[in-house]
Amino acid sequence: MAAFVTKRLALALLVAIFVSSISFSLMFLTGDPAIAIAGEGATEADIEVIRRTFGFDRSFAVQYWDWISGAASGDFGQSFYFNQPVVELLAERMPVTATLAVFSIGFALLLALPLGILAAVKRNSLADRLSLALATVGQATPSFWLALMLIVLFAVNLRWLPVSGADTLAHFILPSIVLGYYASPSMMRLTRGGMIEALRSDYIRTARAKGMLPRTIILKHALRNAVLPVVSVAAVEFGFILGGSVVVESVFSLRGIGYLAWESIGRNDFPTIQAIILVYAMIYVCLTFLADVLNAWIDPRIRVA
């Protein structure tokens, strides 16, 4: 297990270095960042001032080293738009996105696991078909449309929940349902597939022969194996929810990281964009690493693979 963890950690570190260099290079891929910041009406003198002010006149390697060494110590520079340290911006916005992501993945698992198990146990039944239909609709529904429909029903008509904002946990219910529902179909289908395969296996047949209760067989024996791929997918979906919540954060007026990323792109706020990419990449790397370790812990065969 120790060798496995070490190998995965080394891989994660390599990915982190690679992503950091890519995210830093992004600023230069669209041309001279000084021109982009200055805007189209700026004179050459204005651009030169910006170039010197932001240090774009130094070599790429020097700029990269400055940035990465700063980032390693938690200094991502100043946001061009808010003119405040990017790390402060991230610290302000991250709790909103993290709360939204945790609630969403929780809702997705609460929806996906029971329906996936039900669909597998009652294979080809009406329940199976309905679960499949729910999953298909979930993936086909645009999140902004679902968000507005939920606002119309629960906030405008029934007045049960607030429309927008992040003042209380109640403000996170509707956005979490939207994001969670979108994330649930893949987990639902994987649970179903894994459960069908597990229920066919010899050890389940043996368990049945021993007269174990169906509930014990399903939840204790079959689900433990079936849930393996779901753990990996849940980790990836969690990362997706963190980064892909732009539309939902906008509709529900949640000041989170996803919305900040979207707006920062429009404003050419490079330090903020770079920091968000790097932080998200690190979160993905950590989540994938944790999923690998978790899988290896659940299934010892993976450790030697």
């Binding site: 340290p85 302000e92 119309v152 405008v156 509709v251 900040l260």
Partner: protein
């Protein structure tokens, strides 16, 4: 997100939401506790017009701060605000007697040192204020005595009062001294908490999210702003306009603006809301390649430009696409601006006359051209359709504003439908002087017009200014250097229990609002 705002599905859903809620009265938390929540889609970074030039910050600044003077939208006069009187000493010197007994929100007394500090801070280019372009005519301010201050101008600038009213709120002396230093070693002036003398004090501010304010109990009642009636005022950023509408309908916010005409029409059905279409200071116009550098000499001919003016049914476009408060204009300025002459002869809608003028200019079979726009596609398409009906067929090209402006400056655009908001400055110097005073955006660079405008720009006598601008506007209209089209409007929606009146400068005055 803006793309959602323009999405027809979202609009349809908003309509569905409205239809669903029409029978249900909105919660009126604002009226019950004498508070008001207003919302817009801009993310405010600082409650300081020196360091955030968005319209929302100018609105907020009018509540938190006071300028030396106040523009009264009802009369068009500049009334003393933090000043008690003012006078032009000469064409480059303004002198202000200051109001007595005024205190800042932090308890410090207001005096001439504060005025000098604010003006000198803004006028110093090294401080990097973002609205420097609006105030670069300022040289410095000097304290004359304990009650008097003088502002010296770099050059004669008669519309200085307009800018003093709008973009120069007075801050306490040393306001920026405690600005924190950023990781780049520079002072972060925008991080300094807002302190003003205005009718509201900021109690909480989260950049990009909200600004909470409470009425300033010590505010002077005899000023032109008056004492505020509403006790607590909150600004909330809600970027999605359908979400704003849903919040308005459920009582989460009391006041919104900037909805589309469709959305405004839909909201009018709600009995608990007041929906208004009000004028703004933005106008729409056609501009031409008068120098003929874009590859055709057609637009160098006044007959062709006049043909354009006769071909567009401006009344139709104004009423159907802008709203009922839009008005057709003949002069190259907004009717509410100082110096915008009302008696300029325009061009009536007459396609037959347009065809005749084209024939007279040597285009009996009509002409084809590239037509550029950047703001309202529906408007541009309606204009293109009218022009085509009179024999002027266009190929519509759509660009970003900055790119189109640069192309116009470089003489690469034959005809474009442009708009100009004058930064809400109620003075023709913000539009006519800007576009016809010989600057980079002047399409004609007519020496005669430039000389007349220079005369108006340097005179301090209002009558002399009016006369000069009227003469210039008449010449611009006669030569059809522009085809002024119509004024823009803005839609407002708010609780029917709120007493509120919009103004053409697009600066909602919540200090004048009250609950019925």
């Amino acid at each position: 997100m803006k793309f959602l705002s323009h999405c027809s599905t979202a609009t349809a859903l908003a309509a569905a939401a409205a239809a669903a809620v029409l029978a249900a009265p909105a919660a009126q938390a604002g009226k019950a506790d004498n508070s008001l929540v207003w919302s817009s889609n801009a993310e405010v970074t600082a409650v300081d017009p020196f360091f955030d030039t968005s319209r929302e910050v100018i609105v907020l600044a009018q509540h938190v701060h006071d300028g030396l003077v106040y523009w009264d939208p009802a009369t068009g006069d500049y009334l003393p605000l933090l000043a008690s009187a003012y006078r032009w000493v000469d064409s480059r010197t303004l002198e202000f007697d200051l109001r007595q007994g005024v205190t800042f929100h932090d308890g410090s007394s207001f005096g001439p040192e504060d005025v000098a500090y604010t003006i000198n801070f803004g006028a110093d280019e090294a401080n990097g204020v973002l609205n420097y372009g609006d105030i670069k005519w300022l040289d410095r301010a000097e304290v004359v005595d304990a009650d008097t201050v003088r502002i010296l101008l770099d050059e004669p600038f008669p519309s200085a009062l307009a800018y003093l009213a709008l973009t120069l709120p007075i801050l306490p002396e040393g306001h920026y001294d405690a600005a924190p230093v950023g990781t780049d070693g520079k002072k972060r002036y925008q991080a300094v908490p807002p302190v003003g003398t205005g009718p509201y004090k900021v109690t909480s501010f989260k950049p990009g999210d909200h600004v909470d304010m409470v009425a300033n109990g010590d505010y002077f009642a005899d000023g032109p702003k008056g004492k505020p009636a509403i006790e607590r005022l909150t600004f909330r950023t809600i970027t999605d306009d359908t979400t704003q509408i849903a919040e308005l309908m459920t009582g989460g916010v009391d006041w919104i603006w900037g909805m589309s005409t469709d959305q405004a029409q839909m909201l009018k059905q709600a009995p608990n809301l007041t929906v208004l279409n009000a004028p703004t200071m933005r106008i729409s116009y056609l501009t031409f390649d008068i120098k003929g550098s874009a590859g055709s000499d057609a637009f160098t001919k006044p007959e062709v430009r006049r043909a354009f003016a006769h071909a567009v049914n401006r009344e139709n476009i104004a009423k159907n696409l802008m709203g009922e408060s839009s008005q057709v204009i003949a002069a190259a300025c907004h009717p509410t601006q100082f110096g915008c002459a009302a008696d300029i002869a325009g061009y009536d809608y007459d396609p037959a006359k347009a065809r005749a003028l084209l024939a007279e200019a040597g285009y009996p079979d009509g002409l084809t051209f590239e037509f550029y726009g950047y703001r309202d596609r529906q408007v541009a398409e309606a204009i293109a359709s009218d022009l085509a009906a009179a024999g002027m067929k266009s190929d519509l090209r759509w660009l970003k504003y900055a790119a189109l402006r640069d192309m116009i400056r470089e003489g690469k655009v034959g005809v474009a439908n442009m708009t100009w908001g004058s930064s809400s400055i109620p003075d023709v110097s913000a539009i006519t002087s800007y576009f016809f005073g010989g600057g980079p955006d002047d399409p004609a660079k007519d020496p005669e017009v430039m000389a007349i405008i220079a005369r108006g720009d340097s005179a301090t006598d209002p009558a002399e200014r009016r006369a000069a601008y009227a003469e210039a506007l008449a010449k611009i209209a006669e030569a059809a250097y522009w085809v002024p089209l119509f004024t823009y409007t803005k839609n407002y929606a708010f609780s029917a229990d709120l007493q509120f009146a919009p103004t053409p400068d697009e600066l909602p005055r919540f200090f004048r609002a009250s609950w019925k």
